[in-house]
């Protein structure tokens, strides 16, 4: 993989608002493209990121309270890891109950799909509470499309 260009900061910190989800997505898209990550792979990484950011914007902070999220992008030889941090209430989304994907239309509820997709698409996902921060790191391979 190409090295990160020096004029691009691989850390993105934004206020936890709906508008920031789109801003963060566009900036990560530009960085992944500069790194030479394939379009197919970049879309999957951006999907995982969107799902995690939607969670943070919806739940991490009180409705009227300010708060930020931060995204760190760390490429290695054959993989890329994104670490998403917020400083809201302790919350491990990986403990959420998985959606019942076998149910019919009447029984299906939309909740839980986002985190389910992150788990299914990423090679690994882990959560830690680090001091007053929630930190989720997820890794995608950057080689072939599978895995």
């Amino acid at each position: 993989m190409k090295p990160l260009p020096r004029d691009r900061d691989a850390a993105i910190r934004l206020p936890a608002t709906d508008a920031s989800i789109e801003t963060a997505g566009a900036r990560v898209d530009a960085i992944l493209s500069a790194l030479g990550v394939s379009r197919e792979r970049a879309l999957r990484i951006e999907l995982a990121l969107e799902e995690l950011l939607v969670n943070i914007v919806s739940y991490a902070y009180p409705a009227d309270g300010p708060g930020d999220f931060e995204i760190l992008i760390a490429p290695s030889a054959d993989a890329i890891t994104l670490t998403v941090t917020d400083w809201g209430r302790p919350f491990n989304p990986l403990e959420a109950e998985p959606p019942r994907t076998g149910d019919g239309i009447d029984d299906r509820e939309p909740g839980g799909l986002g985190i389910h997709l992150v788990r299914e698409l990423a090679r690994s996902v882990r959560y830690e509470r680090a001091g007053d921060a929630n930190r989720i790191a997820f890794t995608f391979p950057t080689g072939g499309i599978s895995g």
Partner: protein, 111 residues
């Protein structure tokens, strides 16, 4: 995301292109709601131009299907590929919807 709407063989066709994400999904929801409001009961979402869908988009498909079911309507889906097909599959949504490879097949299929 771009949504264009047409009618063919008594069905309302929504051709969706680009990205259906947390920002753009409400637009698709409004388009579906407006069609149902105006009396359409048989929708077809043609997704060959869609390259990205997140859970925000899946919610709209589920909500639209739930709205149409008691009205004896349905939303058919065709033209999915790549990540969009994968997301539908991983979510178990493949078995919730009538899914066709192409628009012609979606229109030709019997209810």
């Amino acid at each position: 995301m771009d949504v264009s709407i047409s009618t063919q063989e008594g069905r309302a066709i929504l051709r969706v292109a680009g990205r259906m994400d947390a920002t753009t999904a409400p637009q698709f929801e409004r388009e579906c709601a407006a069609l149902i409001e105006s009396g359409e009961r048989h929708l077809v979402a043609e997704l060959s131009g869609l390259e990205y869908i997140s859970s925000a988009g899946l919610r709209i498909f589920l909500a639209t299907a739930k709205k149409l079911k008691p009205l004896e309507g349905e939303i058919r889906i065709c033209g999915m590929s790549g990540l969009v097909r994968e997301v539908f599959s991983l979510s178990g949504f493949i078995s919730l919807f009538a899914i066709y490879p192409s628009l012609d097949e979606a229109l030709a299929a019997r209810p």
